[in-house]
Subunit: 198 residues, 2 copies
DNA sequence: ACCTGAACACCGTTCAAGT
DNA sequence: ACCTGAACACCGTTCAAGT
């Protein structure tokens, strides 16, 4: 009577997990629910994942890949100005965060990097495009001289900060007044580009 | 035979919860464990909190107060320069995040703000000091003209971004090379102050 | 404002025995 | 590479009945 799942159960489980994540959030995500939705027994996931944490890590890795794609796409449709490209990339990042808030949460939980070294690799890779953007901006003379890695980190921190503050408490934090989040990104990155000190 | 807990059980529970949070992280935090450590029955917490979420919200509120105190203390021992005070405040924020990583995680989960309006108030209040700093920096001519609220948001996003990226994956993300986190804060805020564009 | 104790539905994880 | 089914220890939450 056994109904076998023929095919790629691993990916099926990940897809369902991501689906459930979007519907009910990380708190409500359970292995047993994922298995049930996939139509397999509650032990079946253990054929592909060591434990629940491993599932979350896999979801996080996929998240970094999706984020990179979104950012890349946003840059590629933008005119050849480093400033404009940086703004486009930043908006894409924040849009991703808002549309997939639970996913972002899984990506940036504190994770044992010794146990999952690949996650560090994937997350670093997602920074590469931003790093290239900074370097070409410098070569083109649009950005100042200075350590490009430091500049990349600063930009990432700013964008990530806007993103995470935007999803905490459903925008109340950053948006007590009536700005759109896109405005907040543009203004914040603008300040970073042009400076605050006089 | 009943052993009653005479005194402020509510605060005892919160203190123990914070303790456990630091020891084992948010995942391992359970109401039953808190109650046990407090020496009360597993139902006792329900006398003071509607549910587990309410406990987490109370911890978050306390976190914002502690964070404000740290930031305030850092500013007050710093010379009368807006730039220096901003750097001191930023370092204090990031230090708080690293020392109390799990606490920060609880503070910035996405929370139903309709249900816990006070949390929005407390979190906004923790921004007040930063807002004052920006305004006096402008009055003093150290900072540029511009909407002070927008500037405050940008600074907060930057500092918060550095803080959260620092605790994700135990510093691998922001620190593949050998910088200290204090350096990253100083450099990032420096870029925000002085600008990246040429 | 607490206590005990039972109960419920739900977890993650590990078996043993199957196909 | 799956299945069933049982089991374990642990959850959050809700009772009922006590002091």
């Amino acid at each position: 009577m056994a109904k076998y799942h023929h095919g790629d159960l691993r990916n099926t489980l990940l897809a369902i997990a991501t689906e459930l994540l979007g519907e009910e959030g990380i708190q409500a995500l359970s292995l047993r629910k994922i298995a049930q939705r996939a139509g397999v027994s509650h032990n079946a996931p253990y054929m592909h994942f060591a434990d629940k944490e491993a599932v979350l890590v896999a979801i996080a890795e996929e998240g970094f890949r999706l984020l990179s794609l979104d950012v890349e796409a946003a840059i590629s449709v933008t005119e050849n100005s480093s400033r404009q490209q940086l703004l486009a990339a930043s908006k894409a990042y924040v849009r991703f965060a808002i549309e997939r808030a639970a996913h972002l949460q899984v990506m940036f939980r504190s994770i044992d990097v010794e146990k999952y070294p690949n996650l560090a690799v994937v997350s670093q890779a997602s920074l590469r495009r931003l790093s290239e953007l900074v370097k070409s901006g410098r070569e083109r003379g649009e950005f100042r001289a200075g350590d490009p890695d430091e500049m990349t980190k600063a930009i990432w921190a700013m964008v990530h900060g806007v993103a995470t503050l935007s999803i905490a408490y459903q925008p109340t934090l950053l948006l007590p007044d009536r700005n759109s989040i896109e405005d907040v990104v543009v203004v914040s990155i603008g300040h970073l580009l042009d400076g605050i000190a006089s």
